[in-house]
Symmetry: C2
Subunit: 199 residues, 2 copies
């Protein structure tokens, strides 16, 4: 495993948290020291449904998919996390409950991990980080509300166009059927939507 030098590795995540509060270099260093760097090959599970989620991960590089599967095999992709995103099942992580989600890398990925212990330590030492995480969850919630609304009210073509607009770089990186799974379509139907669109 080859480690890049620290400035490289932490540049992204530090910029990310600086958007939610102002931290000194010293505080950032304390934060960075709590993070665990990990390289993960593609197609590996970070979390299985039924397990308790033990991490909150920042994606330095790569692509991760978070999704549900129910007893009948029906699937929905909750989101794709690429560079500068966080991934976790927050509810499972914080409340030690079995998760309902699967989390899986789609590409070879580099992650920075917080555990419950290091997160608690961080919050205790630098309470302003409470704000960082609260804002993250709030934005998440607002986005999800909007998505639910779109899911219920808009047509298939609109959904697909909205997706392209919101996540322009994703379609180049992930297989089409994953995007179908995000949109709540069958792969066949997404294919037909695209055909209608590009002619």
């Amino acid at each position: 495993m080859i480690r890049k030098d620290d400035s490289d590795k932490f540049a992204g995540i530090n910029a990310n948290v600086q958007k939610c509060g102002i931290f000194s270099d010293k505080e950032l260093q304390f934060f960075n020291n709590l993070l665990q760097y990990k390289e993960v090959p593609k197609k590996t599970f970070l979390l299985h449904q039924g397990e308790i989620c033990r991490f909150e991960a920042y994606v330095v590089k790569g692509c991760v998919r978070v999704y549900f599967i129910d007893a009948q095999g029906a699937e929905l992709t909750l989101y794709f996390a690429v560079e500068d995103w966080w991934v976790s099942d927050i509810a499972s992580f914080q409340e030690h409950k079995p998760s309902t989600l699967f989390i899986e890398t789609l590409e070879d990925s580099e992650l920075l991990l917080l555990t419950l212990e290091t997160k608690e330590l961080l919050l205790k030492e630098i309470p302003l980080f409470e704000r960082v995480f609260r804002l993250m969850v709030q934005r998440n919630l607002a986005n999800l509300q909007e998505r639910l609304f779109q899911t219920v009210t808009t047509s298939a073509v609109e959904k697909y166009l909205n997706f392209l607009e919101r996540y322009p770089n994703i379609p180049n990186r992930v297989a089409q059927h994953y995007i179908a799974s995000y949109l709540g379509f069958t792969p066949e139907f997404l294919s037909k939507v695209r055909r209608r669109l590009y002619k």
Copy 2:
């Protein structure tokens, strides 16, 4: 306006926040003093789309509906808040952004309001309240994720049954077409679903 005595009025909300941390009587009193009590008749708007949300409200009594409407007139009810629920557009409230939501009472209601100022004061004085609000938002997020999944993957009948199970007291209190709006159905279709179910 008739005011109940304080123990009545604050009993619910104090029990509510005690579930997320342990507060002394003195701290609770400080908290209660920041709350603004308000009685609101039914069919009044607490928030219009486009406005900035200025409150976070705890429902002491009554029923409030939170919903989206888009340019085409398509509507989705995000949730109903009855006794012991909180209502707000958190994103708008915290980030001073115009809201995309409508919030409207369906019954005469009694509310306890926090403003941005009183909330900041509260968090500054009793930092443990950060935890209360973070947990609230996280649960909210987890619920919404589950709901999105159900919305995409389950049949109409299942959706309705899930709703009845999750919110058994709501159908007695709100008109059927509001429930249709929650489920993403037309009122006509919900009626047909119910007929299939009860025979």
